[in-house]
Amino acid sequence: MYFRLDNQSGEAFYRQIVEQVKYRIAAGQLQPGQKLPSIRELAAELSINTRTVVKAYEQLRAEGLAVMQQGQGVFVTENQAVSPADLRQAQIEEMAKRIFSEGRRIGASKEEIMHIIKQVEDGIQEKSNE
């Protein structure tokens, strides 16, 4: 499983790991019941402290996304209270918030932003139809 950390973003490493796991669950790349890399494995792969991985996994567990099974490892929760669709929605909401707050900052109206999103979407559609 490939994880990468961006040390220039200023985002805490444990949060970056949490976000990447969530992204994969949302995208269906990580299935319920699937095993996550062991704490030592992931820490070694990323050259970080095991404590950082422990913190990430504890956060995932607190959010109901992962379970720790003594002696066996960490797994993506089965029968999750939060579905991949919920996670997708949360992630797209975050992106949308960014678009609107950044857009407002440079003086764009809601209509303008919606119009541009539509245009971009049309462009993507055209490309895939070619």
């Binding site: 030592r40 820490a43 070694a44 407002r104």
Partner: protein, 298 residues
């Protein structure tokens, strides 16, 4: 039980009338990589020399593995690895002989040292003196990483190495710390390379510790605020809690902890973003508020 294996209390050192290090208090634990940062002459090398007992402190003291730095028993010195800035082994020895010598001083893992040497495809039979500057650093790093030390001190180990090698060096250092549950303290100017593997940062300036923080906490808490010149600077940015500020074209940058900010009341044109270690370093070492005030009062 505490994992602290290096401690310093009120550690100070003068050179004549110049105070190189002033009242340094530290507790460093096993399993951690510490980035020791600071401008030239901040006292980084002096601190390392004091910790390993090469220098007599003017005041205060330090301990390694429970023993005073100046009176380390031989059994303890064998568990401390130090790579100084400049001090080199005799040029006539080859890497294999240097490993041999090292293994007589302290427990040594020849395979680990050899593997590290092999990354750069360096010939272990070629005399040390015939290698380039960067290659010499690599061989010296191999001697350190091969040792089964509890404490590793390195002074500018990455200087002279190409970017890919610097990253490799720190990855292997991290591995040593994880595998041997050791402590590594690395004095460096090159912040970017060590940013991923380091757990804590110590920032020295003019012999004083300005900051000693967990890096995850810095990433989690410290923010950069940009106030364009068209906006009024929010009151909280002018408080003593602000870590630093810098006037740039078009406005002012402020650095502070997120919980000291009142983001709800911010004008839309004011931006808040996380900072990387380099920006944080500059905020406290170069644009520090109290430092600036002291400067003015002089």
């Amino acid at each position: 039980m505490s994992d602290a294996i290096v401690t310093a209390t009120h550690l100070s050192r003068d050179y004549g009338r110049f105070r190189a290090l002033s009242d340094v208090n530290l507790t460093l634990e096993r399993g951690r990589v510490i980035a020791l940062l600071g401008p030239n002459g901040a006292g980084k090398s002096t601190l390392l020399h004091l910790l390993i007992g090469q220098l007599e402190p003017t005041a205060g003291g330090s301990h390694i593995l429970g023993h005073p730095s100046r009176r380390l028993p031989q059994a303890i010195t064998g568990r401390i690895a130090y790579m100084g800035d400049g001090e080199e082994p005799p040029g006539g020895y080859n890497a294999r002989q240097l490993f041999q010598l090292q293994s007589q001083l302290s427990p040594f893992n020849s395979k680990r040292a050899g593997d590290f040497l092999a990354i750069q495809k360096l010939d272990p039979r070629k005399p040390f003196g015939e290698f380039s500057k960067g290659q010499k650093k690599w061989i010296r790093a191999a001697m350190i990483l091969g040792s089964e030390s509890d404490v590793i001190f390195m002074d500018e180990p990455a200087e002279g190495l190409d970017p890919a090698s610097r990253i490799k060096l720190y990855e292997h250092l991290r591995r040593h710390v994880s595998d041997c549950d050791s402590l590594a303290v690395v004095a460096t100017h090159i912040i970017n390379d060590i940013e991923t593997v380091a757990d804590e940062v110590i920032i020295l300036k003019r012999g004083k510790v300005l900051v000693h923080e967990d890096l995850e906490d810095i990433r989690e808490q410290v923010r950069e605020l940009f106030v364009p010149e068209t906006e009024r600077v929010p009151d909280f940015a002018l408080s003593a809690e602000t870590l630093g500020s810098q006037a740039v074209s078009g406005g002012t940058r402020f650095w502070m902890k997120a919980d000291k900010m009142d983001t709800a009341s911010l004008a839309a044109a004011i931006t808040v973003r996380p900072v990387n270690l380099e920006a944080f370093y500059l905020s406290v070492a170069e644009y520090n508020h109290s430092q600036a005030h002291r400067e003015i009062q002089k």
